[in-house]
Symmetry: C2
Subunit: 458 residues, 2 copies
Amino acid sequence: MGRNIVGDRVAGNRHDRSSDEHEESATGGLPAAAPGAPAGGTGTGTDVPASHPPDGRSGADPGPGVGTAEARPGGRAPGHDRRRAALDGGGRRRASRAGRGARARTIRNARRAVTLDDVARLAGVSLATASRVLGPGSARRVGSELRERVERAARQLGYTPNLVARSLAHGASDLVGLLVPGLSDPQFAALADGVLRAAERDGLAVLVGAGRRDPERELAHLATLRAQRARAIVLAGIETADAHGAARLRAELERYHATGGRAVRVGRAAPAGEADDLPADLVVPDDREAAARLAQALAALGHRRFAVLAGPSEHAEARERVAGFIAGLAGAGLPAPRILHASGDREGGRAAAERLLAAGADATCLVAVSAALAAGALAALRDRGVPVPEAMSVAAFGDGPVPPEVSSLTVVRPPLERMGERALDLALRPAGAAEPYRRRVVAVPGEVVIRESVRRIG
Amino acid sequence: MGRNIVGDRVAGNRHDRSSDEHEESATGGLPAAAPGAPAGGTGTGTDVPASHPPDGRSGADPGPGVGTAEARPGGRAPGHDRRRAALDGGGRRRASRAGRGARARTIRNARRAVTLDDVARLAGVSLATASRVLGPGSARRVGSELRERVERAARQLGYTPNLVARSLAHGASDLVGLLVPGLSDPQFAALADGVLRAAERDGLAVLVGAGRRDPERELAHLATLRAQRARAIVLAGIETADAHGAARLRAELERYHATGGRAVRVGRAAPAGEADDLPADLVVPDDREAAARLAQALAALGHRRFAVLAGPSEHAEARERVAGFIAGLAGAGLPAPRILHASGDREGGRAAAERLLAAGADATCLVAVSAALAAGALAALRDRGVPVPEAMSVAAFGDGPVPPEVSSLTVVRPPLERMGERALDLALRPAGAAEPYRRRVVAVPGEVVIRESVRRIG
DNA sequence: TTGAAAGCGCTAACAG
DNA sequence: CTGTTAGCGCTTTCAA
C-alpha cells in the first residue's frame, strides 16, 4: 500500500520486514556532528601508525577555553588536548597508546565519552581525588576547595561515570536480574513492577529476561545474569517439570550462589515431597493471613453468619484459607462458619451453593476459596433468584485471572507487586554468615478488595 | 499474628517491615561452603601483609586432581593453586598484588569466580589464545589442538565470562534500555514484552526502568542507562508536559546520542506544531493501514454497507482511521460508508447511533473509531432493542483499556508487542552515516481481532 | 597461529 | 586530605 504516515508529505517508503510497516526519515532537530576533521589520529597528516601516540595524555590542564560543554553541538571538547600530547611529550603517563579508540570512534561517528581522567585533569587534581568526589559513597573526605573544582569540571564536561568500569573495579555491579515467563501476562507484569520498585529504592537497575516457559531459555538467561554479575536474581513462574531440567536449574542456581549471588523464587511452595531444594529463598502468598483479614473486613461490614465453599477437603491451599478465615472470625469474636466441601471447579461451587440454599441458609455472606467456586455459586444464586448482594453477599479468593462476569466480585487479590518487592528485598538483604545455607521464606498476605458483591449489613 | 507458613512446624517468626509478613528459615539443600580455612592469604600463618603475594599466579598448570568441576559442592577448585604461588615464587607475572581480593572474598564467603586467566593457565596457553577461543565472535583462528585444550579447561572449571569486563574492554555493552511509566499497565507490559523478544533475538539483555510519570525519575533512569552504556534505548509513555521538562529530556537524549546511543520513542506522533524534536526515532501505530485491514476483514465476512461513527471531525487520529477504512472498502470494491460525526465520548457514540437508527439504517455493520464511541453505540442499540450482532454488527478501534462490558467487541488492537519489537530493531539498526541526523519513523498497523460482536453475512 | 603487553575507566589500598 | 599505583577481567593490537 505504501502510504507515508506524516500527513501528506511524500517520502520514499521502503518496505521493511514483513512489508507490514512503513518507514520514513526526516531531518530532525539534532545538530550534525562536526563535519570537519575526525577527532583522533587518523588523518592528521603524519603517517606514523605505531610510535605516534595519538591518544596520549598531557599532564597539564587544558588551559582556558576548553570545555564550555553541557551540550556542545558539533564541538570537540575533550578531544583537543589529545592532540597536544605529541607536543609536550606525553607527560606523566606512559605514552604509547595505539590509536584504536580514536579510530573506532571515527567509524561510529560518536565522540569519545568524557572520562574521570578528563575531569581530574581539567580540575587539576589526581584521578583518585576526582574519584573520591564523583565516585560512589559520595561524602568522602576531600577538601571543599578541591571538591568544588572537581564538581565544576565534571559539570562543565558533562561527565557521566562509566558504570561498567565502576562495576569491574569495584567488583560488584549495580544490576539485579528478574526472570519471568514473559510480561504479557499481567500477573508477571505486576510482579515485575514490584521488583522494579524495590530496585529503584535501592538504586539498582533491573535486567529482565523472559523465559517463555522454555527451560533452555531460562537457563540461558540465568547464565547471562550470572555473567553480568547481577547481585541478586528474582525468579517467578519457572517450573521445571522433568527431573533433568530441575537438576540443571539447580546446578545453575548453585553456581550463582557460589559466586556470591542470591536468588529468590516467587510463587507457591512446592507440594510437599517434591524436590524443591533449589538454593533460592522463597516468597509465597500468605493465604492464611489473607483469609483472616477477609474475615475481619467482612465482620466489619456487619456480617455475622458465613458459609464457606471450601472445595475438596484435601486441597492444602484451600485448607489454609479456610483455617485462616475461621481464625479471623474467631479473632472478631464470631462463631465458626458453615463449611461446604465440593469439587474445586465451577460445578462444585454451584452444587455447594445449591446445597446451602436447600438447607435453608441463614448465612448473609458466602466465601469461596477460589474464583472458580465463586463463579459457580454466583450462577446458582442467579438461577435460584437470590440477588447478590441484597440477599447474599459473596467473596472469594482471586487467584488466577478473574472471569469477566465476576468483575464486581469482592476478592482477596494475590499480592503480586508486594511479592516482587519483597523478593528483591530478601535477595539483597545479606543472609548472615550462618552455615549451612538456610532457605528463607517470606509470606505476604493478599490484599482484600471489597467490591459490589458484598453489602454492608446493619 | 505470627503463625508460620509451612504446615504446623513452628519457627521463630521475627516480624519484618510492615509486620505484615512472616519469615522463616529452613535448612536447604545447598551444601555448606567449605568450612575449613578461608581460601585466601589470611590465616596462612605467615604474617607478611604487604610483600607476600597471597594471590600470585603460578605459571604451571595445576597438575592432576584439580578441577573436576561442573558442580563441585563445597570444594575449593581454583583456590588451591593460589596457595602454591608463594612456593614457586610468582612465576612470570609481576608478583605484587595486595591481598584485597582474597580478603573481601573471605568476608562475603564466596569463592572467587573463575577467570579467563584461570582457564588459560589450566590449558597452558596465553590469555590471548583463551580469549580468542572463548571470546565473542567465536570462530577466530586458533589451532584445533589449542582450541580444544582451552574449551576443555573452561568446561572443567565451569568458566563463565565476566560480561562486565568484556564490555569495558570491548567498549560496548550488551545492554539495551527500556523506559516506561511502569509495568502494571498491561499496555506497557505488552510493549515491554515485545522489546524483550527483540532483544533476545539479538542476544542483548534489557534493562527496564519505571519512570512512574515523574520527569525527574525518567531523567534519572535515562542517565543510568547512558552510564551503563546501553546500546539503545526504547522510550514509551514519556510525556513531558512543560517546556522545561521537554528541554531537559531533549538534552539528555542528545547526550546519549552524542555518545553513540540510539533512542527510539514509541507512541503517537506529537500533534503537529508541538516541539517534538527529540533526537529519537519513532514507532507509531499505523491507523490508516489498520483501518483498511478492518474494512477488508469485515468485507470478507460478507458485510457490504457500513456506518462509521467518526467522532469529532477535527480529530486527526479519527480522520486517519476513517480515511483508511474508506480506502479499505474501496480496495474491496465496496462503496463508501455512511459517516456520522459526533462528540468523541460515550455520549457521542450513543447519539450518533441513535441518529443512524432513526434515519432507518440499511448498514449491517457499525464501526466506531474509538472504544468509547462503541460503548455508547452499544448502549443505544441495546436500548432500542437492536440485537448485536444479529441485527447489527459492531467493530471499533481498541485504544485504551476496553471496558469489560464490551469484552466481546471486535476491535483493532494496538500492536503493542510489535511496536516494542520494531522499536528495538530500529534502534539497533545502524542509522547510516547520513548527516545531518534524520529521524526515522516506522508505522506498525494494529491487529484486527474479530469477536462475537460481528457476524458473518450470507 | 600464538604470545606479550597495553589498555578500557574506575576503585581502593597505601604512602605521604 | 591528597597523590601514586596496582589492579578488576577481558579484548585487541603488534610482533614473532
